[in-house]
Amino acid sequence: MSVDTATVAKIAALARIKVSEAELEAMVPELNGILAWVEQLGEVDVTGIEPMTAVIENHLRLRDDVIDADPLTGGGVRDKVLANAPAREDGFFGVPKVIE
């Protein structure tokens, strides 16, 4: 499968990366080169093989339902949460006005 300019433009839009026409033109052959190369995976017979789910045998642990049990992953830290925000007002993050 190879991609054309329109496809790359669509992917870039999906990934929310603005690209110029010139960048698009340059990306098409690059991406096609990489895609052609990864497509050799199609040669591999994977009959009966499950996709990998856990690289090292391990079980998903569940945590107890306790509020702010660990301050590093608890709430009540609004100042920390907002500290690096490009726009913050009245305890909120600010973004360009959204019309729904």
Partner: protein, 495 residues
């Protein structure tokens, strides 16, 4: 007085403990080297000499008070700028995070500070750890301290993505540094710069607070002068973290105490598929020397097969970009980092402008690849297929480890290449990790140790891959090679 910057982790720790010198003296000596090398090598994005001294003072005070100094007591280190450090800018070498000052400390860096280490600064790297030459950093290339012996002064790549780490250790700007390894990012730069580095079993080191590249592959590990220093530092970094659901709930072994270069009774596998056509002659020769050294150490050599080796890299270049495309979606200009808000732009325009301005070309390339392989209609053909191949690669290793204890292979297909040599062709750059990636896909512990110089006078590394959880076996095989290779070369100081 000895040059304290020639000392490694163990020597500093022991010397400080004995009172041969103070931790502050050590920190100041490295701070001076960091400052002196910054313009030429560009290893650090931010230097934090005051933090190094502050930690050293604390160590000296503890010593004066007769308190224990910790596994890394008095050792200043470099911190790859992928680890969140509270109050110190953390960028992943990307413009999109420029100015971001975390309100939290990564688990691994916190463990190192708790063990008595101090921070010399935040080390440069490939942007979001995507690269094999440290040429994708927004903050400029890192220059390897090594030069070819032809008398030329071509700038060489320090490897990547942990290129600032490898350069800092090789150039004596730090006795050790943290690295992260997603598809070779500890081992390949270690090999390029004549130092040691180990990527532990996936899950040994917490990923909490490390800027994510590819979650199922990312692992932190130490980069240092020798195997013992790696063992010491890995002990300090590793350990169960309930904040990381993929963290291994296992006790941390005493790897340093368990070090032994005696390989009697051990079987070393030599994977036939790694001996590729057109292999660099010096690399092949160093591999052969490595085999002899391990035999000399008492090991039995067995040929093994890892039949899906050639598919590891293509599988990696689907899985890693797919995960990255999702992991990097949070860089959107809303909560931290760069915001590019063109006049009259709406929310979605702001995202697209911010991400266009904030991400470098390689990061964008991988996000686009990842987005494409996950998109409707392509998911099964690419992503599911790649994860099945990953299962097969993991099976290959499982089978191989029924016949051997560790696997020996080159770390990289060549020695360090010149800056700019591979930047025009992403594929040729990717191929650099051909030997490193299979162990990453299988989550296995793997390390690189220096194994000599090539005909150009540049370091070559040998890689040891172990069974899950068997860092000790990997370290011991590394030590067996190290003690026979007697690698003592270091770059001439030209900076």
């Amino acid at each position: 007085m000895t040059d304290l910057t020639e000392l490694g982790v163990a020597a500093i720790r022991d010397g400080v403990a004995k009172g041969d010198f103070t931790a502050v003296e050590v920190a100041e000596a490295f701070n001076a080297n960091v400052a002196a090398a910054q313009t030429a090598l560009n290893a650090f994005i931010v230097a934090t000499p005051e933090l190094a001294v502050e930690a050293a003072r604390a160590t000296d005070a503890r010593r004066a008070a007769g308190q224990p100094l910790g596994k890394m007591g008095g050792v200043p280190i470099g911190m790859k700028d992928l680890f969140a450090t509270k109050g110190v800018q953390t960028t992943a070498a990307s413009h999109i995070l420029e100015g971001f000052t975390p309100e939290y400390e990564s688990t691994v860096s916190q463990k190192l500070w708790d063990a008595g280490a101090g921070m010399l600064g935040k080390l440069n790297l490939d942007q979001f750890a995507m690269g094999s030459s440290n040429e994708t950093s927004y903050f400029g290339n890192v220059i390897s301290p090594w030069r070819r012996s032809d008398g030329g002064n071509a700038a060489l790549a320090p490897g990547g993505s942990s290129g600032g780490s490898s350069t800092a250790v090789a150039a004596r700007l730090a006795p050790a540094a943290t690295g992260t390894d997603t598809g070779g990012s500890i081992r390949q730069p270690a090999a390029f710069t004549g130092i040691s580095g180990i990527k532990p079993t996936y899950g040994r080191c917490s990923r909490w607070g490390i800027v994510a590249f590819a979650s199922s592959l990312d692992q932190a590990g130490p980069m240092a002068r020798d195997v013992r220093d790696c063992a010491i530092m890995l002990e300090a970094m590793a350990g169960y973290d309930p904040k990381d659901a993929t963290s291994l709930n296992l006790p941390v072994p005493e790897w340093e105490a368990g070090l032994s270069a005696d390989m009697k009774g051990k079987k070393v596998g030599i994977p036939r598929e790694y001996r590729m056509d057109g292999m660099d002659a010096d690399v092949a020769a160093s591999w052969d020397r490595g085999i002899e050294w391990l035999k000399d150490a008492g090991a039995e050599i067995v040929e093994i097969s890892l039949p899906h080796t050639k598919y590891a890299l293509p599988a990696y270049y689907i899985i890693a970009p797919a995960e990255a495309s999702s992991n990097l979606a949070r860089y959107d200009g809303v909560r931290y980092g760069l915001r590019d808000l063109p006049d009259g732009a709406g929310l979605q325009d702001m995202y697209a402008a911010t991400r266009a301005a904030g991400f470098g070309a390689e990061v964008k390339r991988r996000i686009l690849i990842g987005t494409y392989v996950l998109s409707a209609g392509f998911y099964d053909a690419y992503y599911t297929q790649a994860q099945k191949v990953r299962t097969l690669i993991s099976h290959d290793f499982k089978n191989a480890f029924t016949q051997c204890d560790v696997i020996l292979a080159p770390t990289a297909p060549t020695a360090a290449f010149g800056l700019g040599e591979k930047t025009d062709d992403p594929l040729s750059m990717y191929l650099n990790d051909v030997f490193a990636v299979p162990a990453s896909l299988a989550g296995l512990p793997a390390m690189s140790v220096p194994a000599g110089l090539n005909r150009e006078g540049l370091p070559l590394g040998l890689q040891i891959v172990g069974k899950p959880f068997d860092e000790q076996g990997v370290l011991n095989a590394g030590l067996a090679i190290e003690s026979r290779a007697q690698f003592s070369a270091k770059p001439d100081k030209w900076w």
